[in-house]
């Protein structure tokens, strides 16, 4: 069978690694755990700190802030990113804002309330102790960012402004126009630049981690490819931090940047790190739909638009091709208002996403036909414009309308917007304990790349908070617990494990270049992405997942025997070769994601199994609203941790049981 060359080699390295999921939650009352833990954590004396080297892969909010903070503490840091500058990490694209329990609005917010909202929002699939810590450090993040010069929105009195966001009844979101991620990242980047110039950071831009090096069961380095020159390099350190972001691009189309990938996390997984809850993915209901087969990515439109827009499709299939103005009022189906009269157009994210899919699958979608289906529904502002006047609507949404027009060429003042759901964020990731260390000692995982704080569903404005919490405050405090057990500099790049890993990496690259088949890398990415979107997207079923699982090994086989990567060589700038490595991992990862989705016989948060939803009966009995996700706490209140066994089709499942001491398990209802 045509598969990747280093399949078995990677597995043999993972033999001595503990496959246990010991969460290492500190003792004591919830509100005191973090303080006590910090007190009990090991310290390394300043003279010794500089003898330790830490590798940080990623320069987004999580990686950038971690690299800068660790360097300030005196450690030697090597930081890596694939873009040409650390300032360009995908965090830059976040629009809405960042949460913090400052209670500046005096509206009853508190650390406890943010903790509670996040556990509930995550549909009771996150670890309480981690979430509480996140809420605690949220307040320090805002102080830190303001001191760096992040230009948050302010009130006329000069104090910081807040807005409210989904899943919360308080206003705790800090924002910088529609570019919060950009401003936070530029803050972390400036701290990083300061440390590159005056501190202990060596920055490696345009450098991609292609493998993790494990020595005696511990993470001790990485193998990279310099994307500019093609050179393969070895880097040894006393600990490795991965902050490489999410895997949304497994679906090919998502709101993520083009380069976002799962490679670093997946390579670590193949070397023994457990991958947790890969099936928890988040779909955003309001994105600009695809316009053709050539579509390369999707763009988010703020959800706030649903406050004034009315969602509809034609009642009759035959009208799908008509101009919206030619469809009379009585032939329009305002399906959200019809099906969910109490919520209407503001129905929760997952429900409105699924409803849109349903009407499009029925053939009532609008806009261009892509792959035989019209995937779009109208979001109509005509009534709002009539009622409030164009000026008011322009004031509220002017910049969004402009962006929409730039992309689609249509003016939402004249024609209804077309929207469709898209993949946006991934809650799953590498498993970590309370110290953010994976089961593979020495390997720490930060930001969207870990599975930790959002359970099965992330609330708006909480990813930026988590990335910065992990990087500025958590990792710098917990990493010494591991480092103190290590003799600094004990492993060097001439170790046999580096030799073996480098060889595996080189062979894989050469294999990719040697195939010279008929199909482009993108064509495979599209194929596997579409398959995941159809069968492991908004709605999953047993049949659909089994179908996907039957097809993925065939896609893998064809990839490894029929992909064409331009020959310009391993040793030069070759973007197609970069993509090929990422897509190879997406194919294997897609399989893991579907396996996880198939095994989780419940619906929770972003994982909706059609077989598990509340029925009319349940609603009458007061158990839950029709169509809402139905959890199975008795059997599934655990974190899944998948071990790579050498055969990507047969990973081994481990479990961390979740206990809820502070927040009582309850149906996630927003009524």
């Amino acid at each position: 069978m045509a598969t990747e060359p280093d399949q078995m080699a990677a597995h043999s390295a993972s033999q001595e690694i503990p496959m246990t999921m010991n969460s290492a939650i500190p003792e004591g009352p919830m509100a005191e755990k973090w303080t006590r833990h910090k007190m009990a954590s090991k310290l390394i004396n300043p003279k010794n700190k500089r003898k330790y080297k830490v590798i940080v892969v990623g320069s987004g909010l999580a990686g950038g802030s971690a690299a800068a903070s660790l360097s300030e503490l005196g450690y030697q840091v090597e930081c890596f990113c694939y873009q040409d500058s650390p300032r360009r990490a995908h965090s830059i694209a976040a629009q809405g804002g960042i949460n913090a329990a400052k209670n500046y609005q005096n509206d009853g917010d508190s650390v406890h309330r943010l903790f509670y909202d996040t556990v509930k929002g995550g549909d009771f699939r996150s670890r309480e102790a981690n979430v509480h810590r996140l809420a605690e450090v949220s307040v320090d993040i805002i102080d830190q960012c303001v001191a760096q010069g992040v230009p948050f929105a302010r009130e006329y009195g000069g104090l910081l402004a807040n807005r409210s966001f989904g899943g919360a009844q308080v206003s705790r979101t800090f924002y910088a126009r529609g570019q919060t991620g950009q401003q936070l990242l530029l803050g972390a980047y400036s701290a990083l630049c300061k440390e590159i110039e005056h501190g202990n950071v060596t920055m490696h831009p345009r450098t991609e981690m292609l493998d993790l090096v494990v020595v005696d069961g511990q993470a001790k380095g990485i193998i990279c490819r310099n994307l500019k020159t093609g050179a393969i390099t070895r880097h040894a350190a006393d600990a490795v931090c991965l902050a490489t972001g999410g895997y949304g691009n497994v679906f090919f189309l998502s709101t993520n940047a083009m380069g976002c990938n799962v490679m670093a996390a997946f390579r670590a997984h193949r070397r023994g790190a457990l991958f947790s809850n890969p099936c928890y993915t988040q779909i955003h209901p309001t994105c600009i739909p695809r316009s053709g087969d050539y579509q390369s990515k999707l763009t988010l439109m703020s959800e706030s638009l649903r406050n004034d827009g009315r969602v509809w499709v034609p009642k009759n299939k035959e009208d799908s091709q008509k101009a919206p103005g030619d469809i009379p009022e009585e032939d329009r189906d305002y399906y959200l208002e019809r099906k969910y009269p109490s919520f209407g157009n503001l129905a929760p994210r997952d429900i409105s996403s699924r409803a849109a899919k349903e009407v499009c699958d029925e053939g009532r979608g609008v806009g261009p036909e892509v792959g035989g289906v019209r995937q779009g529904v109208y979001l109509d502002f005509a009534e709002a414009i009539n009622q409030f006047g164009q000026a008011t609507i322009e004031e509220r949404y002017g910049n969004l309308f402009e962006m929409y027009q730039r992309i689609t060429g249509e003016s939402p003042y004249e024609l209804p917007m077309r929207i469709y759901p898209a993949v946006h964020y991934t809650m799953g990731g590498l498993w970590v304990d309370y110290n953010l260390m994976s089961n593979l000692p020495g390997l720490h995982v930060l930001g969207e790349a870990n599975f930790s704080d959002h359970g099965a569903n992330r609330l708006g404005a909480s990813a930026l908070m988590q990335g910065l919490a992990d990087g500025y405050f958590v990792a710098p405090a917990t990493l010494p617990n591991y480092l103190a057990t290590q003799k600094p500099g004990s492993v060097t790049t001439d170790h046999a494990a580096f030799e073996e890993a480098e060889k595996a990496v080189t062979e894989r690259l050469e294999k990719l270049l040697s195939i010279q088949g008929d199909r482009s890398v993108d064509s495979f990415h599209r194929e596997v992405g579409l398959l995941c979107w159809d069968n492991c997207g908004m709605e999953r079923t047993k049949e659909g997942l089994e179908d996907a699982l039957a097809k993925i090994p065939k896609i893998r086989e064809e990839f490894w025997s029929n992909v064409r990567v331009p020959k310009s060589g391993v040793s030069s700038f070759n973007p197609e070769l970069e993509k090929a490595g990422r897509v190879a991992d997406f194919i294997d990862f897609a399989e893991l994601m579907c396996i996880d989705a198939l095994h989780r016989e419940e619906s929770c948060g972003g994982h909706f199994r059609a077989e598990h939803q509340y029925t009319e009966e349940d609603q009458k009995d007061g158990l839950g609203e029709v169509g809402e996700a139905k959890r199975n706490d008795e059997n599934f209140a655990y974190v899944a941790g998948w071990e790579h066994t050498g055969d990507p089709s047969h990973p081994r499942l481990h479990k961390e049981n979740l206990e809820f001491e502070e927040v009582k398990l309850a149906v996630r209802s927003y009524k």
Binding site: S65, R154, S190, M258
Partner: protein, 260 residues
């Protein structure tokens, strides 16, 4: 525009694309016949289509930089028909769409050219010189954990708003590519201006203004002769007045330094 029937309109274009094998290669324009380009595709999707075709023919695809494709990361570049980021005002290359062109058009596509931005391959250039400018002083030195309570220093809204206007810079380098002298003055002025105008940034104001300008000179960027081509090319519409402000800060800083 997508026609109501949902079928995209197609363009037949001639592309004149800069191909350059590496930093030491001389480089040259190559003509590519490009039929069947949908008007609803973005400019970079048009290049994706071209590359897919080149790969199909066993040829080397055109290398270009990009990542977010949302106009915010600053990774895309390209000089399109002589204009950095192409013909649409306040629009990055990744947000430019093919409906801005007509059937039968010839489009010249070149890299951002500047001594400080050496070509890596084809249309991809090395902009790490921008990082070196930020390292020269584009930060506020505050250690993690040492920050005071955020609301202790109220900042008047107009000041915060102006700082944001400067902070909107995406560091793409269009200002450099548009400038006859390949000066990075608008980039430097925007970042220094953001920090110099905030109360938090005052302590290092002098060092910052000097350090960033010196880093710019050292990286091989040219001098600013107030032509303001940069402002016209900037996809985020950073105002030229930031340059005036930086000049003022720099002169004051220079004078202060020579007094010491």
């Amino acid at each position: 525009m997508v026609s109501i029937k949902g079928q995209p309109n197609l363009l037949h274009l001639t592309l004149k694309i800069w191909r350059q094998d590496g930093p030491d290669d001389k480089g040259h324009f190559v003509d590519i016949d490009a039929p069947g380009i949908p008007t609803s595709a973005s400019f970079l999707e048009m290049l994706d289509i071209i590359n897919e075709r080149l790969i199909g023919e066993g040829k080397d695809p055109v290398a270009f930089d990009h990542d977010c494709r949302e106009g915010i990361c600053g990774m895309c570049s390209l000089v399109i028909n002589g204009v950095a980021h192409g013909p649409e005002k306040a629009t990055t290359t990744c947000q430019l769409h093919m409906r801005s062109f007509k059937d039968g058009d010839t489009i010249h596509i070149e890299p951002f050219r500047a001594k400080a931005f050496p070509v890596i391959k084809d249309l991809a250039v090395d902009r790490s010189a921008f990082d070196s400018i930020i390292r020269g002083g584009g930060y506020i030195s505050v250690r993690t954990g040492a920050a005071p309570e955020a609301n202790n220093t109220p900042i008047p809204k107009p000041v915060a708003d102006a700082a944001f206007d400067a902070a909107a810079c995406i560091g793409c380098g269009a200002c450099v590519a548009a400038c006859k002298n390949a000066s990075a003055m608008l980039f430097v002025a925007a970042k220094a201006g953001q920090l110099n105008s905030l109360p938090q940034g005052q302590a290092e104001r002098t060092a910052r203004s000097l350090g960033m300008v010196q880093a710019m000179d050292k990286a091989g960027f040219g001098n600013c002769t107030n032509q303001y081509e940069c402002e016209a090319a900037c996809p985020k519409e950073i105002d030229r007045s930031w340059i005036t402000r930086l000049n003022r800060s720099y002169t004051a800083a220079f004078a202060r330094k020579s007094l010491l």
